[in-house]
């Protein structure tokens, strides 16, 4: 009896030391709900796949809370090895030269295989420096697509299998939907003044959002989204708003847009491709999926859309350098086609490698799940150019806030599209001047 116990004790002690030996790599993230669970699952599977490193995921609240927590911790010397940062924080992270350990450098130092050509360029391109080096590890990326209510289309006498291809078509269809009484409004969108309604509108129509390749070329870039086409588009939104075709989805994320679509008040809804699961769960009607409409008054050849979401940044200053080896190993693990495909198919986020996309095709995933590859096709059409590679500006969240207020002024009839975008650009450029001053000596 006593012998058995002591053997058991020895075994416990042994297993304890072996787990002690694993180097802990902390990973602060902002994913709640089911996604958070899936994320922890990914970490767990990595930990089980090898015994040298242990990824410790810690939930740190919303995106802004997580970023602030990481910065507070960095200033106090308590930073995590990896932190998940949303795309509007990208400018802040890129400017923090000494605080960030660029991913391409990390992989090189750790001797991990790293071939940027295997990644989907529109995804990683958003996070590269001007020399094309990838600075952070794409984790959850998405792009806006169009969802529509097939039942309402049918009721309005439209073909439920044909989605609007252009904004003009969307306007026509909306008028028909409203006048036939099939629904109260034609369309609504999330991020109406920012990610969807301005950043992606500009990218798809190949219009500049700012100077210096939309900010990729340096911190002295300034905003130029107040072009005539964008202004005309905002004026058009106002007209659609007045005749009931368009319903404003609210500021920032546009939280009012989803219930307007789910309650069948609006027939069309534009939001992140990662909302697909949410849309399916909440729609008591047949949903159609389509690419974002383009403006045929501006272009006949729509460009790729741009992404949003978050990436994983590695922070400098860990005392134990082994931690960085662990982070590099983890990133290699994350890039594996099966891991990527599983994450992409479960969450609805874009895959980051071509191999993961091909694996999904082989598995027949896209055939079984209509609409699930629209986002991938949309970001990979054509070659990304300076206007469609993405936008990179410091304090983008504040620029977006300013634009929300401007679009509201347009919809309330206080400003024209041109005035509002001019004012927005002025406010945004003041924010950028500040940012540049704070981040350079």
């Amino acid at each position: 009896m006593f012998k058995k116990l002591s053997i058991a004790a020895a075994a416990i002690a042994l297993s304890a030391t072996s787990s002690m030996a694993a180097t802990e790599v902390t990973w602060w993230h902002a994913m709640g709900g089911k996604l958070g669970q899936k994320l922890e699952d990914v970490a767990k599977k990595f930990n089980e796949s090898q015994s040298e490193y242990k990824i410790v995921p810690v939930y740190k609240g919303t995106y802004p809370e997580t970023l602030t927590a990481a910065i507070a911790a960095f200033r106090a010397g308590q930073q995590p090895a990896i932190v998940q940062v949303f795309e509007v924080g990208t400018g802040t992270m890129m400017a923090a030269k000494g605080a960030v350990y660029p991913v391409y450098q990390l992989m090189k130092d750790a001797g991990e295989p790293w071939d940027p050509s295997k990644f989907l360029a529109p995804v990683t391109g958003y996070y590269t420096d001007p020399q094309g080096n990838i600075l952070s590890m794409p984790f959850n990326s998405s792009t806006p697509i169009l969802y529509y209510n097939k039942d309402v289309f049918q009721k309005a006498g439209l073909n439920p299998d044909v989605a609007p291809k252009t904004w003009a078509e969307l306007g026509e269809m909306s008028k028909k939907i409203v006048s036939s009484g099939a629904a109260k409004c034609g369309f609504t969108m999330s991020y109406g003044a920012s990610w969807v309604g301005l950043e992606n509108y500009s990218a798809i129509q190949d219009l500049p959002y700012g100077t210096k390749q939309n900010g990729f070329g340096g911190m002295d870039a300034r905003l130029t989204f107040n072009g005539p086409h964008q202004a005309a588009f905002w004026d058009q939104l106002k007209k659609w708003h007045d005749d009931g075709s368009y319903k404003y989805g609210g500021p920032s994320g546009g939280a009012d847009a989803a219930p307007a679509f789910y309650s069948q008040q609006c027939a069309v809804y534009m939001n992140s491709s990662a909302s697909r699961a949410d849309v399916i769960a909440n729609s008591k009607f047949n949903v159609g999926f389509a690419p974002m409409p383009y403006d045929d008054k501006v272009t006949k050849d729509p460009k790729n859309s741009i992404i949003g979401g978050a990436t994983l940044w590695v922070l400098n200053g860990q005392k134990n350098k082994e931690v960085y080896k662990g982070a590099a190993k983890f990133f290699t693990y994350l890039s594996q086609p099966d891991i990527q495909a599983d994450w992409h198919q479960f969450t609805g986020y874009l895959p980051i490698t071509n191999a993961a996309y091909e694996l999904g095709q082989k598995q027949g995933y896209y055939a079984k799940n209509p609409g699930s590859d629209i986002a991938i096709k949309q970001i990979t059409r054509g070659t990304p150019d300076d206007n469609s590679k993405g936008v990179r500006f410091g304090n983008l969240s504040q620029i977006r806030d300013a634009l929300d207020q401007q679009l509201e002024a347009v919809l309330a009839g206080k400003k024209t599209g041109q005035q509002a975008l001019d004012d927005g650009a002025k406010q945004g450029n003041a924010i950028l001047t500040d940012f540049q001053a704070a981040n350079s000596n």
Binding site: G33, L35, A72, N140
Partner: protein, 282 residues
Amino acid sequence: MVENRPFLNFLTHLVLILGVATVVFPVYLAFIASTRGPADFMTGVVPLTPGDQTWANYGALLGAGSTEAGAPPFLLMLGNSLIMALLVAFGKIAISILSAFAVVYFRFPGRVIAFWIIFMTLMLPIEVRILPTYKVIADLGMLNSFSGLVIPVIASATATFLFRQFFLTIPEETMEAARVDGAGPLKFFWDILLPLSRTNIAALFIIMFIFGWNQYLWPMLITTEPHYYTVVMGIKRLAAVLDGDTQWNLVMAGVILAALPPVLVIIFMQRLFVKGLVETEK
């Protein structure tokens, strides 16, 4: 009651019923949401009658629901919140009744400055001084500890100010009589001031308990270990779904469950309120 006025009594109840109905309505709505399916609140005008998912939702939350969302078990979070709330409530009341006693019943150099220093804590929300405050806690080695969670939020101008207001209303004769009886300041405090303050302590206890109970940002920032999770952190984590579908029913069930312990505290504390009433009737 001094006299019986049927119309006034009727009016009183009418105001109360209407007032309570208005004030409680949002809470009622949360309850309704917690009895329905996840999509019911997004697909039409918000319903006003309970659904049939009550047991399923609460069962799921107390069972696997919160762990499925990546948060620790619900009961563990309730326990953490309870520890935090009790420590905050007792701590705040203890230190501030002492300082209010000092400010009102003594004259000493630096008295006004001390009061204003304490008072200023009302005026800079934690979000503004979060980076330096975090650094202080980190330098003192208080990250990931209950002392780090509780002590920085204990300094309360509210409670000191309330006790000051109350002490000033206590008639001068009370203290004069005590001094004639030869009572020193501590005896006076213990035997006379403390019992007199009971109603206010009860009201403050409720407020401070709830304040501690509902802490979110501070625990989120300074802890990295799941066993410090508070119940509000858990709710936020359930609700903060980025692009996926939010389980509104579970979130609202969490809100209702998390509000129950504070409400129990209120019911318990009310005995002190009513006692106060009886004593003034004497």
